[in-house]
């Protein structure tokens, strides 16, 4: 069935749970879209180091796949790298920290706020601005930032931070305050380039990692101020959390994001399925994004991607109707579509096209 709404009309309607011509869709294809630029040989290193190249992947991705959103995820080591950690950049692999910069308690205390006008923070802001400029009239755009605890665990290693939560509590808080200040600067810089929203990666809100008390103490209280600042800077506050067993009560009901992007782990007991997520009221006031297995974009045939997407669409439509909702679910991948060279681009297209064909909601 042909679309009768444009992307922005559809996404705005879905955010307000108004009737739509079809469900929204956005497989989280960021880094992988660098393969659509030029001769297709852009390395990851180039992509994350040059604002124009970063933006070009989103622009080409939109031309090729016709998404409903564009969200500027780069990788999770941007802040850590600008805090002095060594980041390894392979040609075809997501950059990651190989040598964290914060090794001692004193390092937490001496940490200074990175300058957002330098390093990859600058590339991220500039690159986001460029794709927002190019795509902002076509789709809902959003910037993407790592939450303070995620940045700290990247810069000091998760194991160290988790143990220091008990052994060196005040030093951990000192570092988190510094990182929150950096994040505040990033929010203001992102606000200036005018994306419609800003997505926070609050990854550690997972019952496999932290309980409510630790999460509230070591991220919740810092996130509250950043979430508020996001709104003040004119961006809709959104959250991405692809961990298993996410803290949905805290991150959806308490933090009240406009969009919440999440993954589904069928092997892990208690991992909420799309149906359960809707049934339990988490889509009542928030557009939920998920929950196709990102691995499918690498390993499945096109036929299997179509069938899986059709099944998810049907599951979501049934659950939305049963809950009295119209459209508050975006068919997406639970985590980033693997940016590997082996990812099947045709599966991304298949996912989008299947939603276009079968995503009409008639309760």
């Amino acid at each position: 069935m042909a679309d009768t709404m444009n992307h922005i009309e559809r996404a705005v309607a879905a955010l307000g749970d108004k009737p739509v011509d079809r469900l929204t869709t956005y497989p989280l294809a960021m880094g992988v879209c660098r393969r659509l630029v030029g001769d297709g040989k852009m390395t990851y290193r180039d992509w994350v180091s040059d604002p124009k190249k970063f933006a070009s992947a989103f622009i080409e991705g939109q031309k090729h796949f016709d998404f409903d959103f564009a969200i500027g995820l780069m990788d999770l080591s941007v802040a850590a790298g600008d805090m002095g950690s060594v980041v390894r950049m392979d040609d075809q692999n997501t950059p990651f920290v190989t040598d964290p910069s914060l090794k001692t308690v004193e390092d937490y205390e001496k940490l200074t706020v990175p300058d957002v006008k330098k390093g990859r923070s600058h590339v991220l802001v500039e690159g986001t601005g460029l794709f927002v400029q190019a795509l902002g009239s076509q789709v809902i755009t959003a910037a993407f930032l790592e939450g303070p605890l995620l940045s700290l665990t990247q810069a000091a290693s998760a194991e160290k931070v988790f143990m220091d939560m008990y052994n060196n509590r005040s030093a951990v808080h000192k570092a988190l305050k510094t990182i929150t200040e950096y994040n505040g600067d990033m929010v203001k810089a992102m606000g200036a380039v005018k994306p419609a929203g800003l997505v926070w990666d609050y990854l550690w809100g997972s019952y496999s990692c932290l309980g409510d008390a630790e999460y509230d103490e070591f991220e919740g209280k810092y996130a509250a101020g950043l979430n508020e600042l996001t709104g003040k800077e004119g961006m809709a506050m959104c959250i991405h959390n692809c961990a298993d067993l996410p803290h949905l009560d805290t991150q959806i009901k308490k933090m009240k994001p406009a969009i919440y992007s999440m993954a589904y782990y069928p092997l892990i007991p208690g991992s909420p399925s799309p149906k359960e997520t809707i049934e339990k009221g988490f889509a009542d006031n928030c557009l939920i994004g998920g929950q196709i297995d990102p691995q499918g974009f690498v390993r499945w045939s096109q036929e299997k991607m179509q069938k899986t997407t059709m099944n998810l669409v049907q599951e979501v439509k049934t659950a939305l109707c049963a809950r009295g909702l119209h459209s508050r679910y975006c068919i997406a991948s639970g985590c980033e579509v693997p940016p590997a060279v082996t990812t099947r681009l045709e599966n991304i297209k298949e996912c989008v096209d299947t939603v276009k064909k079968y995503g009409q909601v008639t309760c």
Partner: protein
């Protein structure tokens, strides 16, 4: 102090993640003539098993598990040199590591701790481990178990490279292979020719102990 109190002290030190107490009671156990193996099994491991159960029930979370593991290793460092060689040589040797190109090792460290607590002699290769280190583990480490993890998609194929390397050098049938990490699954393990996939440390212990 009675042997029973020392063992209880070791158990509690692990449960509360108190490394200093773990070291203190480990030394006291040796002074009191408690067999090192008993101090490990009836003190440290008993405590770690309780920690594992509490984690599975979401009563404990990663910080408590990591502190408990730290306490366990503190005690083990004192006690392991006192295990008679003939007992030590009966242990199944396993190697564990994060595959090449990936440095996310928190899950690997927990699995290593739980397998150690289950009685295996685990050799930790660390993170970003070159394929050949796993491939040569049977020859170089006398390993009967290879445990590999990755949290990232692009590095999953490194697991297949290890299995292929073991087939090529003739060691595949001498070793069991278990894999884990968020993007992995049993179908993936089947695809690449590994023996098992585990979704968490408890399941890894169950599968390994059940078969070895």
């Amino acid at each position: 102090m009675q042997a029973q109190d020392i063992l209880a002290g070791l158990e509690k030190a692990v449960i509360t993640g108190n490394k200093a107490d773990s070291i203190k009671f480990a030394k006291e156990s040796l002074d009191a003539g408690v067999k090192a193996l008993d101090a490990i099994d009836k003190g440290l491991v008993k405590g770690m098993t309780i920690v594992g159960d509490k984690y599975a029930k979401h009563e404990y979370f990663l910080p408590q598990v990591l502190l408990a593991a730290n306490a366990l290793y503190g005690g083990l460092d004192i006690l392991l040199p006192h295990i008679p060689k003939e007992d030590a040589s009966k242990k199944v040797i396993g190697v564990i590591g994060v595959v090449e190109g990936d440095v996310h090792d928190i899950g690997k460290n927990i699995v290593k701790t739980m397998l150690t607590a289950a009685g295996l002699d685990m050799h930790d290769f660390g993170k970003d481990v070159p394929t050949e280190n796993f491939v040569n583990a049977v020859k170089n480490e006398k390993a009967s178990l290879i445990a590999m993890s990755t949290l990232m998609t692009p590095t999953m194929d490194g697991m297949k490279a290890v299995v292929d390397g073991l087939i090529e050098n003739g060691d595949r049938m001498k070793v069991k292979i278990i894999i884990g990490g968020a993007p992995t699954s049993q179908p993936f393990a089947d695809d690449i020719g590994a023996d098992w996939h585990a979704i968490n440390a408890q399941e890894a212990v169950k599968k390994v102990k059940g078969a070895m």
